[in-house]
């Protein structure tokens, strides 16, 4: 199965759920509407042409500071500025960052067909919530807890949405870009700051 046909296959079945797609060197990505996630995920798992039995990764991205930095300069080892190396022609390029602050990204792999697919769901900052995929892939359980812990994105229908890496006393979500780099929340106060 070639690389474009996975995207086409899903888009054919769910023309309303898919908003855009891109391909990078054979890795295919579909950007979905949040309300279409469960249907598409179920299709991706159960359709015999796709049969994505393996949820390889589930993570999130905070785009709130994306592209704020200056464009990177390329330097040769001699220190002379050079043009970026020529790239493989991009026939199906990335459309750019989403309009929402967060996205949740799902990486699937089919052990049967040996192909991959990435689903991306934009998540609004005011109501950071998407459907949980734990009923479909039990492995999503801890990954979704990690995304909740690090980014504060909730998953509707998750059986046990608690912090998984940080401690319960921790306030905030450390991988959000507005979490101060220098902010510390120690459980044991430093000895030079302990009272008495």
């Amino acid at each position: 199965m070639n690389s474009v046909s996975l995207i086409d296959l899903v888009t054919e079945h769910f023309p309303d759920a898919v908003t855009s797609s891109h391909t990078w060197r054979g890795d295919q990505t579909l950007v979905l509407r949040p309300e279409g996630l469960l249907a598409v995920a179920g299709f991706v798992k159960d359709a015999p042409e796709l049969s994505m039995g393996f949820l390889m990764d589930l993570t999130a991205v905070d785009y709130s500071t994306f592209d704020n930095a200056a464009a990177p300069a390329f330097f040769a080892s001699s220190g002379v500025a050079v043009k970026p190396v020529s790239r493989v022609p991009d026939e199906h390029p990335w459309p750019g960052p989403p309009e929402t602050r967060f996205v949740v990204a799902y990486h699937f792999y089919s052990l049967q067909h040996k192909h991959r697919l990435r689903l991306i769901v934009p998540v609004d900052q005011r109501q950071p919530e998407v459907e949980s995929l734990t009923p479909l892939w039990p492995g999503a359980n801890w990954l979704e807890r990690e995304v909740w812990d690090m980014f504060g994105i909730r998953f509707r229908g998750h059986p046990d949405l608690r912090r998984i890496l940080m401690y319960d006393e921790f306030e905030g979500h450390p991988l959000r870009k507005d979490y101060s780099v220098n902010k510390r929340q120690p459980l044991v106060q430093p000895i030079n700051q302990q009272k008495g």
Partner: protein, 166 residues
Amino acid sequence: MINESFLTSRLDAAVGWARKYSIFQYPFVTACCGMEYMATACSHYDVDRFGAGLPRFSPRQADVLFVVGTISQKMAPVLTKIHAQMAEPKWVVAFGVCTCTGGFYDNYATVMGIDTIMPVDVYIPGCPPRPEMVLDGLMKLQNKIQDEHTTGNRPAPEPRPETFEV
């Protein structure tokens, strides 16, 4: 004058000599430095030559706490509890740069050096330290144990400067 008398100073020397060659360590291994700790403890470098060959996996039987590897904020209460459970006299060795200063983990998750939460006797920096460095640190600790006055009190740890907001 009584503390400096011949008998007590000889006794101190004898006790120090006995202590420094019978180090029972508690290895608190949390990260990749543990490999180097194992290399040091095994026969090639043989930490038993220095009388520290028997790790005790109970803090109540241990003299020296080897903190080997990154200590996260979540792990810090466990480490302080382990340290509190050890009987005096006790010593602490910070093994690896993460336990000395936090290393490159200058972030929300990591304790910036275990000397922010407990007194440390010997620092062994390195990422990870070579076994030779570990043995050097161990010998420095032995010197410290030898020189320690058995009847005196341990000096209070020097406070660290405030380097980050809490």
